[in-house]
């Protein structure tokens, strides 16, 4: 009886070893989330897969990347590594250009005029006081130059400089505010580009969004039925 049991266990262990699955460690140059399909079947989300040796049809996809289709030859080994380089989705590249263009327009038509107006308004009180003091110095220096043989050139230069900055700040405040108000409707009419890609395996749509907490871009799923 004992001998029979030992023989049975030995034959079972030989059968198991006879399947000979190869551990494949995939190195995918893509996004953080990678989906793989082998012979039309979705694999678990992991970069290490146990695959039977032989030639297989493999499909790999990652958000913002194009679907990768190829054949993979798995040798009879304990483990191997396989490198896959995904190419960016053409629509995503175009989306990035459009997004840059959008941001540039928003900056030029909204942020820059506001910054200009803000800088002008903030600088104005300081320049107002400085200009007043320097004008007082100029009047005194001009007076001294008549009676005490002192040159007032330095005071004149300082006053002219502050005068330029003073009127510059007023100009910046007026111009910035005017541009902001004039372009407000135009900025509102601008549409932020949206990038939507369909997961070719699950047929789910996803769109890029911004995490409101850490202000980092993240992939949000939009399920469609």
């Amino acid at each position: 009886m004992r001998r029979f049991l030992l023989l049975t266990m030995l034959s079972l262990s030989l059968n198991i070893n006879g399947q000979e699955l190869t551990k494949v460690r995939f190195f995918v140059n893509g996004g953080s989330a990678v989906f793989m399909r082998l012979e039309g079947e979705l694999l678990p989300v992991s970069n290490v897969q146990s695959i039977t040796p032989g030639v297989h049809r493999i499909e790999v996809w990652s958000p913002t990347f194009a679907l990768y289709k190829s054949k993979i030859n798995i040798p009879e080994k304990d483990s191997i590594g396989h490198y896959i380089e995904l190419k960016p989705d053409k629509d995503y590249v175009e989306y990035q250009f459009e997004l840059d263009n959008f941001k540039q327009k928003v900056f030029m038509r909204n942020t820059a005029p506001l910054m200009l107006a803000g800088a002008g308004i903030l600088a104005f009180p300081f320049l107002h006081v400085a200009r007043k003091n320097l004008h007082e110095d100029l009047v005194k220096e001009n007076f001294k130059s008549q009676y005490f043989r002192v040159s007032s050139e330095s005071a004149e230069t300082r006053y002219n400089s502050i005068n330029g900055l003073y009127f510059g700040s007023i100009g910046a405040a007026v111009l910035g505010t005017g541009l902001y108000l004039a372009l407000r409707k135009n900025v509102k009419a601008l549409q932020k580009p949206v990038y939507i890609q369909k997961n070719p395996f699950t047929l789910e749509d996803f769109r890029l969004s911004l995490n409101e907490i850490n202000r980092a871009p993240e992939i949000g799923l939009q399920l469609s039925f």
Partner: protein
Amino acid sequence: MMKYASLLIVTFLVFALSSCEKRPEACLDFGDYLEAGDNLIIESCSKNYEFLTWEFNDNRGYIGDLFERQFELEGNYQVKLTAYSDGGYRSDELTHEFRASYRYIDRFEIIGESDYSAFIVDFKNDRWSLGIATGIFLEDAPFVINVLPNDTARIAPTSVNLDFYGRRAFSNVPLGKSNLNYHIFKDNPVVVTSEDGKLELRMYWKFLD
């Protein structure tokens, strides 16, 4: 739109109001004469100003609330005082003409009861005497020794003795004396009272045109 417009208006109003300061007013009240030969400190009665400039027609200028100078020469002068506002954007000016002159003894007046034949007054190195000094001299009818216009005696801005005597028989009786620093003492008249309190000498001075 309204929010931004009102913000701009408020900002403008704050600065408009902050720059609404009173106009400066230049003012001088030292009269038509200043004493020559003395170191003078003259202040102005200007208002609402930040700083003042003083310009004299003898090509001297000062910046400040007051000026300190000496007029070495007697004569007519002109001063232009300009009061500037904070920042010197607004100003008010006035021109004042005055004469710089030394102080000159005009006359001496003696009040009180006297039995002296004459009064003698010594001021520094000058002496004046006048007879028929017996009698009672009142405020409205004093005994007067005129100095100007026949004689000119300057009051130098230093310490000077003023002595007052009465003549009886052939001797001069000291009645009173004073030693004043005329740099500080500007009262007019200068009063010296006799030791017995019966007589009072008043020295009147004036500036000369």
